[in-house]
């Protein structure tokens, strides 16, 4: 039997990323206690593990579509920092292009804030994982107090492995607003990487080239 040719190597290299799937979660936060108050701001952060070049640009978190429940809506005026883009209407993307990547947008709370989280999960070589968090800021720009270590409702730590490490937190005891911890359900299936189209095209070109060479031998 003929040994595989090294000509297959480019094909394999192209195919490898396609097998690495994102993790997809359905996120839901009961915001009923916030209705009629405000203004509030959704604070979405992706902080790199160190901000050093070797750790940057290896993770991306995509958030969409945002739903605010009965009576809720986004303001349409957001602020993006670092590798953040989009808005609460079209969806938000956070990439760890710098240390602090953040998207802020005010909203009118309804009964339920929900959206889908589609995230990669690549560990940083420095040992501290990239961390996606969600918090809600009050009218003064301060986080609503929670039981989280930095006043957040959600942690998604991109540690590598099968899935990220997830933790959710409720409002701190005695807070003005009693917001329960969000529900986070992992969704089945593998989502393509954002660069899926180009990688598939490149892989197909490579495969065609290899097959052509085989046929002509």
């Amino acid at each position: 039997m003929k040994k595989p040719s090294f000509a297959l190597l480019p094909f394999l290299l192209f195919v490898t990323p396609l097998c690495k799937g994102d993790t997809i979660y359905a996120f839901a936060l009961n915001t009923t206690s916030l209705v009629g108050n405000g203004p509030f701001t959704v604070d979405l952060q992706l902080l790199d593990g160190s901000g050093t070049p070797g750790d940057l640009n290896n993770n991306k978190v995509q958030l969409s579509p945002f739903s605010f429940g009965v009576g809720g809506s986004p303001s349409g005026k957001g602020m993006a920092t670092g590798g953040a883009s989009g808005n609460l209407t079209s969806g938000v993307t956070l990439a760890d292009t710098v240390f602090l990547n953040e998207y802020l947008e005010s909203f009118t709370p309804g009964t339920l804030l929900s959206f889908t989280i589609d995230t990669t999960n690549v560990p940083d070589s420095g040992g501290t994982p990239d961390l996606f968090t969600l918090a809600i800021l009050d009218g003064s720009g301060n986080e609503l107090p929670t039981t989280g270590p930095a006043e957040e409702f959600l942690d998604v730590s991109l540690t590598g492995g099968t899935t990220p490490q997830v933790a959710s937190f409720s409002s701190a005891p005695g807070s003005t607003f009693a917001v329960p911890a969000p529900e986070l359900l992992i969704k089945p299936g593998i989502a393509p990487e954002p660069s899926f189209t180009w990688e598939v095209l490149a892989a197909l070109v490579g495969l065609t080239f290899v097959l052509t060479r085989w046929r002509t031998r």
Binding site: S50, G51, V98, D130, P145, A150, D155
Partner: protein, 494 residues
């Protein structure tokens, strides 16, 4: 709410700590320090130096490190201003100071920052009404002074511009400079000093006292002095002096005086601890405030004291110069006697600088000694622990970055406490809060460490036991936070 730090208060034992003394006068060197102005966590000393006899005009700033004194070059066209209050050094070795223009009368001083021994003159802070043209009341010939520098290189200082009209109102302000812009600091005028309205021609009767202190979160400490805000114009009036804090967002808060009639603040650390002094019947006492600005601690008569980032206070109380006194290190409510080596005594020497590793400088005239705690080094048990990190988040409420994680004993056997997590190789400008101290023993010097697990000497960390929590970092530049870590355990120095 700040994150719950994974460290807890170290339980101090009131047994004396011994020190070894290093003479800061290099053998055979003609350079010596007339005054000591700062001490870094790596044991570098900033001083006011001279060659030969100090005459007041032949001084220059210099840094002592590992037995050698290196002069800092003055910027071209400027002369040294020998005022220790105007000079400071941060833990990266960046120095701030104030220099003067020789012979000038309207433009006397400017602020200089030395980075890697290279001086750069800062611009004067722009202040409203100091301009040219209609509506301008002050000239543009500013004069600036510096009072402190943060880990991130931010400088606190003041600038004043003389009035165009002789006797007219001047234009001046204290400020924080972040390397690009000036943040002018507000002055909190107590409502009682402006209402009911004072008689025509009277001001509010208060002004900001000389100088300012700053911590690594850009929180500034100043004192409001009362000149005439009191009876018969207002009743009861404002205290004769009351320290206040200015947050980066401009909000201000006065410290509670408790039973004190007045006090002046001199230092604030990253925990929010404040050190200052007050007078009891014309006798100065050293006093401190906890992070909430309440709970005044009286360290006693004498008034010599220094505060570090771990919340320790090195203090000396003595009723008069030449009298015997009491010297101690105050750590979390426990006073630990300081045992000095022969040749350095409290009767003639006073502490002039103090760092987070527990080192300090004692000075008496031109004699200066660096005092280092004696004792064995703690054991490196990094391989016996697993340190798991969740990641960083920026907390808008505190303006701090929070690193969360856990520390677990994976060795299979007990590890003697205290257990310390050391953060090595942090970038300049990034400062962890709530530290227990900085390293001075084996390994990298000057690295911050935090005791974890709330273990005192004699207690042990059980196999498999784990603690989790967070560490707050001041990082005004919002730059990346990279580091390596070590775990040290047992008694001895870190």
């Amino acid at each position: 709410m700040r994150s719950v730090a994974i460290l807890c208060a170290m339980v101090g034992l009131a047994t004396a700590q011994s020190y070894t003394a290093i003479n800061l006068q290099p053998p055979g060197s003609p350079i010596y320090f007339a005054n000591v102005m700062g001490l870094t966590n790596k044991g570098e000393v900033l001083g006011d130096a001279c060659i030969g006899t100090c005459s007041g005009s032949n001084g220059f700033p210099a840094v002592w490190s590992n037995g050698a004194i290196t002069p800092l070059p003055l910027p071209h066209g400027y002369a040294y201003l020998a005022q220790p209050a105007y000079y400071a050094i941060n833990n990266s070795g960046t120095v701030v100071g104030t220099v003067q223009v020789p012979g000038a009368t309207t433009n006397p001083t400017h602020v200089v920052v030395w980075t890697s021994n290279t001086p750069a003159v800062l611009p004067d802070a722009p202040i409203p009404n100091a301009c040219s043209g209609a509506g301008c009341t002050c000239s543009t010939n500013g004069s600036s002074s510096s009072f402190g520098i943060t880990a991130a290189g931010h400088v606190v200082g003041s600038t004043s511009y003389p009035p165009y009209t002789l006797g007219g109102p001047g234009c001046s302000a204290y400020w924080v400079y972040n390397g690009a812009t000036f943040r002018l600091l507000p002055v909190p005028i107590p409502a009682m000093c402006t209402s009911p309205p004072l008689p025509p021609g009277y001001g509010n009767g208060v002004n900001v006292g000389f100088g300012a202190a700053i911590n690594n979160e850009d929180v500034v400490l100043q004192t409001l002095d009362n000149v005439s805000c009191g009876p018969p114009y207002v009743n009861p009036g404002f205290p004769a002096a009351d320290p206040f804090l200015i947050q980066p967002n401009g909000t201000t808060s006065f410290l509670g005086l408790g039973s004190l009639s007045a006090a002046t603040g001199t230092a604030v650390n990253d925990l929010g601890d404040v050190l200052g002094f007050t007078d009891f019947n014309a006798v100065q006492h050293l006093v401190g405030w906890n992070p909430n600005g309440v709970g005044v601690t009286d360290f006693g008569q004498g008034g010599f004291g220094h505060l570090n980032q771990a919340g320790d206070v090195l203090y000396l109380t003595r009723p008069c110069i030449g009298c015997g006194g009491v010297a101690a290190m105050w750590q979390h409510g426990v006073s630990i006697p300081v045992q000095l080596p022969a040749g350095v005594d409290w009767r003639s020497f006073a502490p002039t600088a103090f760092n987070d590793a527990g080192q300090f400088v004692m000075s008496s005239g031109a004699s200066n000694y660096l005092l280092k705690p004696l004792g064995a080094c703690a054991s490196d048990v990094t391989s016996q622990f697993q340190v798991t990190r969740t990641g960083f988040r920026y907390n808008h409420s505190t303006g701090l970055f929070v690193l969360t994680g856990s520390v677990t004993n994976t060795s299979g056997s007990s590890v003697p406490g205290p257990v310390s997590l050391v953060l090595d190789n942090l970038p300049a400008g990034v400062t962890p809060l709530g530290i227990t101290g900085t390293t001075l023993c084996a390994g990298i010097q000057g690295s911050p460490y935090l005791n974890v697990g709330n273990l005192a000497a004699g207690e042990a960390w059980l196999p498999g036991a784990s603690v989790s929590g967070g560490i707050d970092f001041a990082n005004p530049g919002q730059t990346g936070i990279s580091y390596t870590f070590r775990v040290l355990a047992g008694g001895g120095n870190r």
